[in-house]
């Protein structure tokens, strides 16, 4: 009899159903907590979902490959969600067109800063070359960053982790930082977090203000374009 629960676990722990359910359930709880704290920056649902699921995998001795077998259905939606950013862009087209010039200037300044700063800092910190290359595209959305990392022969899975860490930090820091700097222009605030912290920053921006969210979405998609071109160039120039 005592073998039954074990064999059930052996069966379930290999099935996509369990890991998809765990991903959605943990996120739903983390999101409810975030809502209960009035979207406090430190109650970031991505941050808390990741460590809770991570600890659960380690405790149950489940490999990431097995987990990803279920979670891939969620991961896949990153692509369609990028396409869906066309809608906030379309709905705010008048505001966007009016701010075209500041956006383009800030896009170039922000993308260049994001890539150059991380490569220089990583070099100064004496990180191994493979790590420096993997960190370089960390400010663009996961799918794109992993593609860049692959084309540099770096480590796409490390890039994905750096991307998510960057996004969480940006989402946590942006509101207090911008309030401290007394920036009240939600176009600028949203645009900055979209450049620095891609989709997780954009999700945060949508929580704070709809205009900020639309500008963050634009920034994130434009940055995906610019960074894909910029990272190979910066790496050739800066990495020894």
């Amino acid at each position: 009899m005592s073998a039954n629960p074990l064999s059930l676990w052996v069966y379930l722990s290999q099935s996509p159903l369990l890991w998809l359910t765990v991903t959605l359930l943990v996120y739903a709880i983390a999101d409810a907590v975030s809502l209960a704290t009035h979207r406090h920056a430190l109650a970031n649902p991505v941050l808390h979902s990741i460590w809770i699921i991570g600890v659960f995998l380690l405790l149950t001795g489940t490999s990431y490959t097995t987990y990803f077998g279920g979670a891939q259905f969620v991961h896949f939606l990153l692509g369609p969600a990028t396409v869906a950013l066309a809608v906030p862009l379309y709905e705010n087209r008048k505001t966007v067109l009016a701010a075209m010039l500041p956006m383009l200037v800030a896009l170039v300044a922000g993308s260049v800063t994001a890539v150059i700063s991380i490569v220089l800092l990583a070099e100064v910190a004496g990180l191994p070359r493979a790590v420096v290359l993997s960190l370089a595209p960390k400010s663009v959305t996961a799918g794109v960053a992993m593609g860049i990392s692959e084309s540099l022969h770096a480590d796409p899975s490390l890039t994905a982790v750096a991307v998510v860490l960057t996004g969480i930090m940006g989402a946590i820091i942006v509101t207090p930082l911008m309030n401290r700097m007394r920036i009240t222009d939600f176009r600028a605030r949203g645009f900055a977090v979209g450049i620095a912290a891609h989709g997780i920053g954009t999700a945060r921006a949508f929580q704070v203000d709809a205009v900020a969210g639309a500008f963050a979405g634009i920034a994130m998609s434009l940055n995906a374009l610019v960074t894909s071109l910029l990272v190979p160039l910066a790496v050739t120039l800066l990495v020894r």
């Binding site: 996120y27 369609p80 066309a86 991307v163 912290a197």
Partner: protein, 128 residues
């Protein structure tokens, strides 16, 4: 709903095909985004396009649904950190510090440039 999701996937698919066909170093979904934007703008111009998912907020609602839980989509990639525990033990502090510094610097440079350019533009615009 199904038609709207199909349209979104179709845009992404067309983007992937285009990017691979022309060998551009741009991600396919970004081209898909531009394609969907062009479709939405064209629909307002040419009434003949306003059918299926391009009418009654079809594709708009599906997109809003996807974007409402954008941060959930990053969880599977983030959990990948469990594969990197040895690297984190060795370089974790350095990586976290430099990522944080880079994020703050990027936020400040972007917001300052945006404000500066927007101020210069309104000054030029309001000048006689």
């Amino acid at each position: 709903m199904i038609a709207s999701l199909s349209l979104i996937l179709l845009c992404q698919l067309a983007g992937e095909v285009f990017v691979r066909g022309v060998a551009l170093p741009i991600p396919g979904p970004v081209i898909g985004l531009m394609l969907l934007l062009v479709l939405l703008l064209a629909r307002d111009r040419f009434k003949i396009l306003a059918r299926g998912p391009l009418q009654q907020d079809g594709v708009e609602n599906a997109s809003r649904g996807l974007l409402a839980h954008l941060s959930l989509l990053f969880v599977p990639a983030g959990v990948g950190v469990v594969q990197k525990l040895d690297l984190i033990a060795e370089h974790g502090i350095a990586i976290i510090v430099i990522l944080a510094v880079s994020v703050v610097v990027t936020l400040l440079v972007t917001v300052a440039t945006f404000r500066l350019a927007s101020r210069l533009m309104t000054r030029n615009g309001s000048a006689p």
